[in-house]
Symmetry: C2
Subunit: 541 residues, 2 copies
């Protein structure tokens, strides 16, 4: 029996129509270093309509891809609204990748138009001549000089928007059609493409606004540090649109100093970023205190949150950190670490440090090395597979089909699930250290080392070992002025770890290499080690 319900597709166009009218007074603030640029969501909506007209004027039709090469700022948000709502596909390019990779991704997605931030023209210039499908480049936030390629027209964003109508008749769209594309970060290999649907983005936005999700609501001001080119800035722009939350966008001012200034000045209630950003902010606040008391939730994800980070933030600044796990492939919200209301003390702390609870819409299962399901007992470990309406079922272009298993996504993340649905990741499958038939979690080892007061950051990779197959190598960044050596750090670990887990190989580095989105770049660490660039201390000697 069919229901009698109306057949109304879930669409970004409806979110745009609703958010920019009903919540037209929400504030969109872009940091500039000086006086911030301020607009209302109503104004952004009008400019998004102009942008849609401009894109139609350039011939963008059907599901053509319109790419962005932009910071988190007002113009990028305008593209977020206009492109999916007009029925085209928004493709957010990662501005931090190597030119070869950007060109590969833009070609792979068959981008037709690219909107480039003026400050990024020097970065984009070497990419442009290699692009085979792009016909128009639009430069936002400055003059369109310095870009040229055969068969490509270069435009000024503001010129294109001028004299266009302030409203656009957003078309009705099949909710399963693509609204946006994003490629993975390339932490483990070449980036792979995911195409989100109108349906998935709408449902994901609802989840972000659920009280047990990120609880984004009208009246919140969300500081979206996590890049809009990285997994849709964790869905925050669309969630804000859905409920009328205000946004603070840091543009290119992602250094700890400006971020601290931004928080003090703009008083966001929610802020979201990867651990390295919060780590930097913490150091900054210690050097030069700012008022961060407006924050009711600091969301941390994209990589495991070190316990020491969560504790320092909360103890010193009274700011609650919420740990989330997700992937580009999962839109990205996969789990969210709000502890059960009844948990207290150390149990509560453990829940908060876990990767969080999977919501009703994200089913999880664990598959052991033998391919058999692993029980959700909070102890047994396996590769996490997920299924749900905002989880991808393939990569764009059909790459890596082995990542999909009977309709489930194989995450490449390894860990356990508790009976009450909490995920505790021990590692990426590629980063686990397999030693003498046992596994060492690189993440747990990193967290233990980072708990030492002299250590600012620590990253662990496997190195080949003739006897044990693999052994851990710990790359340590010491705090300014600190002097702990490998024997002392090893001694420190000996209190909490079994002997066979204690690392013998250590290296002291000025900085842990980071990926394009600020995660520990273990690929690079491994290759530096392989090429002999790292000076390794062997504590057995």
């Amino acid at each position: 029996m069919r229901s009698t319900m109306q057949d109304v597709p879930l669409s970004v166009g409806d979110l745009v129509r609703y958010g920019t009218s009903v919540h037209s007074r929400a504030r969109i603030t872009t940091w500039t270093g000086g006086e911030p640029r301020r607009a209302t969501l109503g104004e952004v909506g009008a400019r998004a309509a102009r942008l849609a007209h401009a894109l139609r004027g350039l011939g963008v039709a059907g599901d053509e891809r319109v790419a962005t090469f932009q910071w988190n700022n007002q113009e990028h948000l305008e593209a977020y609204l206009a492109v999916p709502a007009m029925g085209a596909v928004l493709h957010t390019l990662n501005i931090r990748l190597h030119a070869d990779q950007v060109a590969y991704i833009a070609d792979h997605a068959e981008d037709r138009v690219v909107i480039v931030d003026a400050s990024l023209v020097p970065v984009f210039a070497p990419v442009l001549p290699r692009l085979r499908t792009v016909r128009h480049v639009i430069v936002a936030g400055g003059e369109p000089g310095g870009l040229a390629a055969e068969g490509v027209e270069v435009h000024s964003y503001e010129d294109l928007l001028a004299q266009r109508p302030d409203t656009f008749d957003w078309p009705e769209i099949d909710e399963r059609d693509a609204a946006a594309m994003c490629y993975t970060s390339g932490t483990t290999g070449a980036p792979k493409g995911v195409a989100y649907s109108h349906r998935s983005m709408y449902l994901h936005s609802m989840q972000v606004c659920m009280t047990d999700g990120m609880a984004v609501a009208q009246g919140d001001t969300v500081l979206a540090v996590v890049p809009m080119f990285h997994a849709m800035s964790w869905g925050l722009p669309f969630a804000a649109l859905m409920v009328g939350a205000s946004l603070v966008l840091p543009d290119r001012f992602l250094q700890p100093g400006p971020l601290a200034d931004m928080i003090q000045a703009e008083r966001p209630t929610i802020a979201a970023a990867v651990p390295t950003i919060w780590h930097g902010l913490l150091e900054e606040l210690e050097a030069a205190p700012r008022d961060v008391s407006s924050l009711h939730s600091v969301i941390v994800g994209g990589a495991a949150c070190p316990p020491s980070l969560m504790e320092r933030f909360e103890e010193r600044y009274g700011v609650p950190m919420l740990h989330a796990w997700g992937m580009t492939e999962t839109s990205p919200l996969g789990s969210f670490a709000r502890p059960p209301a009844e948990a207290a003390g150390s149990e509560r702390r453990a829940y908060r440090l876990s990767q969080g609870r999977l919501p009703a819409s994200v089913r999880g299962r664990l598959i052991g090395p033998d391919g058999a399901p692993v029980p959700h007992d909070g102890a047994s470990v396996g590769e996490l597979e997920v299924r749900g309406p905002w989880v991808t079922g393939s990569y764009y272009g059909g790459e890596d089909p082995e990542k999909f298993h009977d309709g489930w996504l194989r995450t490449g993340d390894v860990g356990s699930l508790t009976p009450d649905g909490f995920l505790r990741l021990t590692d990426r499958a590629k980063d686990v250290i397999k030693t003498g038939g046992e596994w060492i979690s690189s993440v747990e080892l990193e967290n233990s080392v980072m708990a030492h007061p002299d250590v600012a950051e620590a990253a662990v990779v496997a190195v080949a070992d003739p006897k044990w197959d693999e052994r851990p190598l710990v790359a340590v960044v010491l705090r300014d002025g600190a002097a702990a050596g490998a024997p002392e750090l090893r001694e420190f670990l000996a209190e909490k770890m079994a002997r066979w887990q204690l690392p013998e190989f250590w290296t002291f580095v000025a900085e842990v290499p980071k990926t394009s989105v600020g995660k520990f770049d273990k690929k690079t660490l491994r290759s530096r080690h392989a090429s002999g660039e790292l000076e390794v201390v062997d504590t057995r000697e």
Copy 2:
């Protein structure tokens, strides 16, 4: 371009699978007058599986309708879970309707099985012999005596569940298929049927759990006073399942005394009911105080919340009331009166007393008497039409097609919309008093009369008038021991109203007649007046 997202239907089965496992420790408490009956959601899930097996055993297949004739209690919840999840259609019958109406509705929906609460057997007995499609009656919570009809088997619920498996392999279902049916309250005419889909119930549950919705979350305990036979208890059971909130179910103990006891003993954080229930509770608390401090939100809807009710509740008990508007036709959450964060003082109060803001998924428009759209300026009044994924697009069986207009539902509610999306209903189209070419809102007049300290309740209907077409008749229930007369009440109104609006006709009654779900029953009031049953005071005399 198709997205790469997985094609996972939104379904009640998934909610059941998730909620009863991940949130198996949530508490389901049924009031009994004595020691409450307690179960965990995990136990309810196991019993729902048994029920599904039992129903299959009785031959329930495909989309057959399984009706309930039950209070809000654990067994009713078991049916809520089992019936939609197994692919059948749950049909909640209104236990307070006249036997003729129940029989009409059950036949109309072609119910196959009815689950009846033992305490309601005397009410159901006269209905049963008239039912043409029912083949099985299952009596829950007591012995199955006292029911008989030709061709109908009568079973004991517990006997049927005994020895069935504790798990059921919930099938995958097309999300647009019907999951549940409900008929309107019959306030304005014969009840009309609505068939909710798996999709609509899932989306609606997400909305209920959004921070700007009812904000239901893990750790909440929800007292669902609003009947499970009335618009799915406002979606609270499924929302609770989605996030693992606990439920307190009042069974047949809906009188103010037991409700107050329940709140004190079970400490719910959220409670939901129509204004008359809260009105009764208030009187009860005044007579015999109880601790109601556990409540962080008291949700009121189904009829306009009188300002005096909201104020007394908040001032005397510090309990915040949240006003919501909805219809059986809208699943039912249509709008929710959380004021904009920036509103303060009297503006904030006005927002809270409005019917609330329409969320992104419920589009609204106003149509004037001439059929033309009315602006959303907070002043212009028209009939509200709504559109969205959990709004019905027809009545079951195709009745009243004139209630649908280009894919929108004509709500029969009259009011204004503000530019920021808040709905302010002035009346039902059928209740507006049309006098001398002007309109008087019966609801506003009622609220003004109820603001008088001597008045407990007031209901206004139109009476025919030779000169003005219609004039208001006010039916007043005085507080115990109060003695205000019509001239005094009219004098009281004169301070706030224009002369032509002041009612001349008054009647003093012991009680305002109520519908099956506790709304003012103006149909009955009108017919009592027409038959001369009411003693009318004419203040002109």
